[in-house]
Amino acid sequence: MNEISPSPIEQPSQTVRPHFWRILAWVGLFALLVVVAMVLLRKQQGPVAVGQKPPTFILTTFDGQQIGPDEMSGKVVLVNFWASWCKPCEQEAADLESAWRHYQPRGDVLFLGIAWTDTESASLAYIKKFGITYPNGPDLGTTISQAYRTTGVPETYVIDKNGNLASLKLSPYSSLAEIQAAIDPLLGP
């Protein structure tokens, strides 16, 4: 057969008119794309970013205390997510406790440990093992970690006196000095 040249494109036979199913299909498609885009953006965002106001929460400690926004306001708050089964968390546990003992007398620094997806007995054993004295409580329903959009443990969020996130650390602190370097600038006069 000899060469057949590609024929010109046939024009559609009718002009497009709005039609219920057509509209529904387009609406459905856009809804899907919007939903997926929103979640994708959020995943790309990562955890709460420096400068933003992290979500408020109320922590019920293992001792039964309730610590919420009232107890946290006006203070430098260090929020540390940990778990008893998390080996890297143990690396920073001693340093965090030392830092707490250093800052606690001042009265304007608060350390909060949040046990993430942990069992109570294992958490208490961990606290006892490292002699931790700052308040610790379970992340009930994993609501706090979901609000912070954490991706694992250990993670630490340092909040300044105005309630904005000053720094975050997505791995264990390597030394006491590093913790102090995160907190000292926020203490003010």
Partner: protein, 697 residues
């Protein structure tokens, strides 16, 4: 240096793809065949270029060039040769390149067919293929570059970059991380390539469908051309899914083969719509109906392939299967947006041209039953899609709830799991319906079938199937889901054998062929129909296995000392020995020897083991498996407690009939090969008119 070669060919391939796409578009619009031919050559050129690129990665992997980041990620000194080669698809960057290579292979193969009758399709097929290829190449070049190398600054900082940054020297890690231990299994070696083959080859029917929509040639020419392609794509996808199930059963150590994980479902959904499409195109070929619906199905199938790939690789879904999150998410999102919108626009534009003079003569005709088949497949698809997308929607609504506190009560955004019980409960009746249709539809005729004719045709197999179930009842089975399931399986088997038998008998009578010859020739004459029957038989065998394991699986777990025993049903396991040692490829193996007794009689030994990979810090449990047609005994070494000779914990699963799942899968694949096999020219028949020799394109 070799890495630069690979990267260079990637860039050239991208340039060639863009050129080809533009040339195809220009040639079609301006009616210049020379440009279209040039575009075709560009398409063909991408294949050798990408082959070079792929070969360079394989070379780098095999020879252990750890200065290349990808090699360090997936390869290591202690890995054997074959694993180093398969590490090509062990990580995100390599698998994307592999994907591009497969796509250029398929698209080039299409270019080599005879295009004389379909020149108007050619530019558009090229355009669709090259645009897709260009996208994946952009991902590989700019975002997930497998050729990035390590560089070290004088201060000791290590970064990755393609070309040497100023003031830095090459950094060569001493060894790589090695392939994820879970991937070092024969099933894992061919499961990803098969799956990718299935995914990628669906672009061919899609490209032709788009060409049909653009050119306005909306008759079934595009279906006839791609008929075999679609079947081959479907074959690879089915094979990929089955291999994945086999790997899960053999290696993952949870006594099951399918976990309804979102990524598994993402691969399953295009298979569902693809199967619906395979059946539905037969209606268009026989009756000229359903052109609009077939377009919808093929667009849906291909878009689901791309969407599923996006979900797996972008981090939107969290799953054991998902690749680590990377920046390809937003780019990929842009691509799926483009694909969805273009597909829908083209379909919308040509919608009215696709109208066909549809008429349905009977509720029991084959068309009607095929449509019912489509309804069920699409129903299962809807269940799966909703289950996968709901957590995403829930999270998105949670974001809305955060912005508008009034809605925060309802739109909590709390993470939820949509697990197997949702999927199983929702899809079980739909699958049962499909089994029933598999039994009835072969007996119905195109156009004319009434309840009477169907009833006449089916009553014998129907009675036989009831007898089979009665036997089960008498033997003590009381579970009604199992009875219904087995009844449906028996029905399909008897109907299929009956159909085959009647036709073979007719040939025997008219041609004097013995039955075996008749069976062979039948399959040869009408491969699609008889291949289809074999596929259905395969499905029924798989259904037997699935019913067995889902409804009758039992398990037990216990800690026993050496010499101790644990029982499950008819079986007793005795713990004989435990050896623990380190291998020379970085594993610690704990291997138990257990003796198996059935009803008190010794039937064999099993060797469940637990492997621990030091580098990856990952444990793997490999079951000791005794597999017989009637049941599987699956023994695992569990380390809830530390393993020692004084006490080891074993978990024992009894899985009846699972063997039939694999047997059925093999029959299924065989049937697909029969159906796809090119047919010989038809023999001249007694009819007194000349049958024109149509070429099978």
């Amino acid at each position: 240096m070799v890495a630069n070669l690979g990267y260079g060919t990637l860039i050239i391939a991208l340039v060639v793809s863009i050129y080809g796409a533009v040339a195809a578009f220009y040639g079609a619009r301006k009616n210049h065949p020379a440009w279209v031919d040039s575009a075709r050559n560009a398409m063909l050129l991408t294949f050798p270029l990408l082959t070079i690129s792929a070969l360079t990665i394989i070379y780098l992997l095999v020879s252990g060039h750890f200065e290349v980041q990808y090699v360090t990620e997936v390869s290591s000194k202690s890995m054997p040769l074959y694993l180093r080669i398969t590490a090509l698809w062990g990580g995100q960057a390599g698998s994307l390149l592999f994907w591009s290579w497969l796509m250029s292979a398929f698209a080039s193969a299409v270019m080599l067919r005879k295009w004389d009758r379909d020149r108007e399709f050619l530019p558009w097929v090229i355009l669709v293929s090259l645009v897709t290829l260009a996208f994946f190449l952009i991902l590989s070049i700019f975002v997930e570059n497998p050729f990035l190398s390590f560089w070290q600054s004088p201060t000791g900082n290590i970064t990755t970059a393609m070309f040497q940054p100023a003031g830095m020297t090459p950094y060569i890690p001493p060894d790589g991380n090695g392939l994820n231990p879970l991937l070092r299994h024969p099933g894992m070696i061919i499961h990803p390539p098969m799956l990718y083959l299935g995914f990628v080859s669906f672009i061919i029917p899609y490209a032709f469908a788009m060409a049909a929509l653009i050119t306005g040639r909306t008759d079934d020419r595009w279906i006839r051309i791609t008929r075999r392609w679609t079947l081959v794509a479907w074959l690879f996808l089915s094979l990929g899914l089955v291999l994945g199930a086999w790997w899960a059963y053999d290696v993952l150590g949870w006594g099951g083969y399918w976990g309804w994980d979102p990524v598994e479902i993402a691969a399953f959904m295009p298979w569902l719509t693809g199967t619906a499409f395979l059946h539905s195109v037969m209606i268009q070929e026989k009756r000229g109906m359903l052109k609009q619906w077939n377009m919808i199905l093929i667009i849906l199938t291909y878009d689901l392939v791309i969407f599923g790939t996006f979900l797996t690789r972008s981090g939107v879904l969290s799953s054991v299967h998902a690749f680590a999150q990377s920046a390809i998410g937003p780019l990929f999102f842009g691509f799926i947006g483009l694909t969805f919108i273009v597909s829908l626009s083209l379909l919308s534009r040509r919608w009215n041209d696709l109208k066909s003079g549809a008429e349905m003569t009977s509720w029991f005709s084959r068309e009607a039953l095929f449509l019912l088949n489509n309804l069920l497949f699409v129903g299962i698809f809807v269940v799966c899609f909703w289950g996968v997308i709901f957590p995403v929607i829930s999270e998105a609504l949670g974001i809305v709830g955060q912005q508008f506190p009034a809605l925060a009560g309802i739109f909590t955004g709390q993470k939820v799991t949509v697990g197997p019980s949702y999927y199983e409960r929702a899809t079980a009746p739909l699958f049962a319906g499909l089994l029933l249709l598999m039994g009835v539809a072969p007996l119905s005729a195109w156009r004319y079938s009434t309840s009477k004719t169907l009833g006449k045709a089916i009553w014998k197999p129907f009675v036989a199937s009831l007898l089979a179930v009665a036997v089960l009842w008498i033997a003590g089975m009381r579970s009604w889901p199992a009875l219904v399931g087995f009844w449906l399986c028996a029905l399909v088997v008897f109907v299929t054998l009956y159909e085959y038998w009647r036709a073979a008998w007719a040939r025997h009578n008219t041609r004097g062929e013995n039955l075996l010859q008749a069976l062979w020739n039948l399959a040869g004459r009408n491969r699609r129909r008889y291949g289809g029957y074999i596929i259905h038989l395969g499905v029924v065998l798989m259904a037997l296995g699935i019913i067995g394991i889902e409804l009758f699986q039992t398990e037990t777990q216990g800690t026993i000392p050496q010499g101790g025993e644990i029982s499950l049903g008819h079986y007793t396991i005795r713990f004989d020995k435990l050896s623990v040692w380190d291998t020379n490829d970085g594993r610690n193996i704990a291997r138990a020897v257990v003796s198996v007794y059935k009803d008190g009689k010794f039937v064999g030994e099993l060797y469940p083991r637990r492997e621990y990979y030091y580098e990856a810090q990952q444990p793997m449990t490999i079951a000791g498996l005794r597999s017989k047609p009637e049941d599987d005994l699956y023994v695992l070494l569990v380390d809830w407690q530390p393993l020692s000779t004084s006490a080891a914990t074993f978990k024992v699963y009894h899985n009846p009939l699972v063997w039939w799942l694999w047997c059925g899968a093999a029959v299924f694949i065989l049937g697909t090969i029969v159906a796809a096999w090119p047919e010989k020219d038809p023999e001249m028949v007694i009819l007194r008119k000349v049958v024109p020799a149509t070429s099978k394109a």
